[in-house]
Symmetry: C2
């Protein structure tokens, strides 16, 4: 029996990585794993020829990306009619000090996802999406919250974007110098960088006796955020 | 004697923060402090109507931003003629779990800077910019390196962008719930997030006896990256 071919995003001039193509990945597994390891993205879109780059929280379901904002926001009003957008997620993993300025670099993992962003108009669909926005980060949490009001639902806009094309780019190489430069008396090193969770701060106005839910046990001081978010994602979307 | 008025970026429809305007800042001091606390940005630009959102290293001099890349890169070729661009820097500071889905949030600090990106054609200007690219992160390091070759200089493109407009947005509020929701038996907390430096990894091929330069002493395990980069910036640009 032959193996199932791995699903990949189509590649064209928009998402093809032309430089250092050995760092490029287009398969769903790599692209989705990176998307599921973060909560913050940057979205690019155009209004009257002016590009905007907006940071926002996002989440993924299958090959669809979601983000949200105020119904009044400029970004979301502009995207309501299916505007081209690019959603990018980047994790910085190190700063790299080489023996030449030219080879100074950084280790990183990034995904660029391209598609057309559309406002979700259907109320049940929007309501379900907002549930997943919270539960993707904190599995099962929505069921424990004060329910969302009609007014809150109206005040919130949710955008969905089917990923039409995507590319992941990963550098995990540390110091790479020209062969002849290794003979030089120049110090070189890799400085690792990671985003971690600090000590959780219970709200000062909690009712007495309220314990921290067991579902938050992954969010503990010192843990890497990307690992915790990947675990939370797998709990919320067991099918992947 | 009256105080000198604080310098600020002009505000118009492009950069005005319309929602939660109490989180907005336009003064040079706030905008620049945020820009100088990070190394990674996302740049938005447009090619044939398609927005791109590209992660890259950047640095600031006065009211000018710089970033670099390969002379062959799509982004940099496209920007060579003074294209509109938006450079955004975001620091995620926490995830906020409130008593309603609607008030789930995050603490963050972000800057959006707008301008027209231009390729630096002048070789001495480009060479100086690349020196600052390294020295802004690692003060004085370029003088200790193998000099940059003509070929390397040609292979590198540097873009500069005068900041025409900018806005900073800061949320540092933790949990904020509706008044009546504080009476509910629902757990709420702020989960701090920070980006820190790991244990530096000296290159395995260092010549024997090469010690770590004292100028790198700020880059030590456990320190916050934003604090270390702010210190490094102040050492490289004592005038601010």
């Amino acid at each position: 029996m032959s193996e199932q071919p791995a699903a990949s995003y189509p590649v064209d001039d928009t998402n093809r990585i032309k430089r250092r193509h050995q760092r490029a990945h287009y398969d769903h597994a790599t692209v989705h794993a990176l998307l599921d390891s973060a909560a913050l993205c940057h979205v690019s879109y155009v209004i009257d020829g002016q590009p905007y780059c907006t940071p926002t929280l996002y989440w993924r379901e299958g090959t669809t990306l979601y983000w949200h904002g105020s119904s009044a926001s400029r970004m979301l009003r502009n995207l309501s009619e299916g505007q081209p957008a690019c959603l990018t997620v980047t994790q910085l993993d190190s700063l790299v000090l080489a023996r030449s300025a030219f080879h100074h670099s950084a280790d990183y993992r990034s995904v660029m996802a391209f598609g057309h962003a559309k406002l979700i108009e259907d109320e049940p669909e929007k309501s379900r999406a907002l549930t997943m926005m919270v539960d993707r980060l904190f599995p099962g949490r929505t069921a424990t919250l004060r329910p969302t009001t009609e007014q809150e639902l109206k005040a919130t806009a949710v955008v969905s974007m089917e990923i039409e094309k995507a590319s992941a780019k990963v550098r995990a190489a540390g110091v790479i110098d020209d062969d002849e430069d290794y003979a030089l008396a120049i110090y070189a090193e890799r400085i690792p960088v990671r985003t971690v969770i600090g000590a959780p701060e219970p709200d000062s106005r909690l009712l007495p006796g309220l314990a921290r839910p067991a579902t938050l046990s992954g969010f503990n001081a010192g843990r890497r955020l990307d690992e915790v978010l990947t675990e939370a994602y797998a709990m919320s979307y067991p099918a992947g």
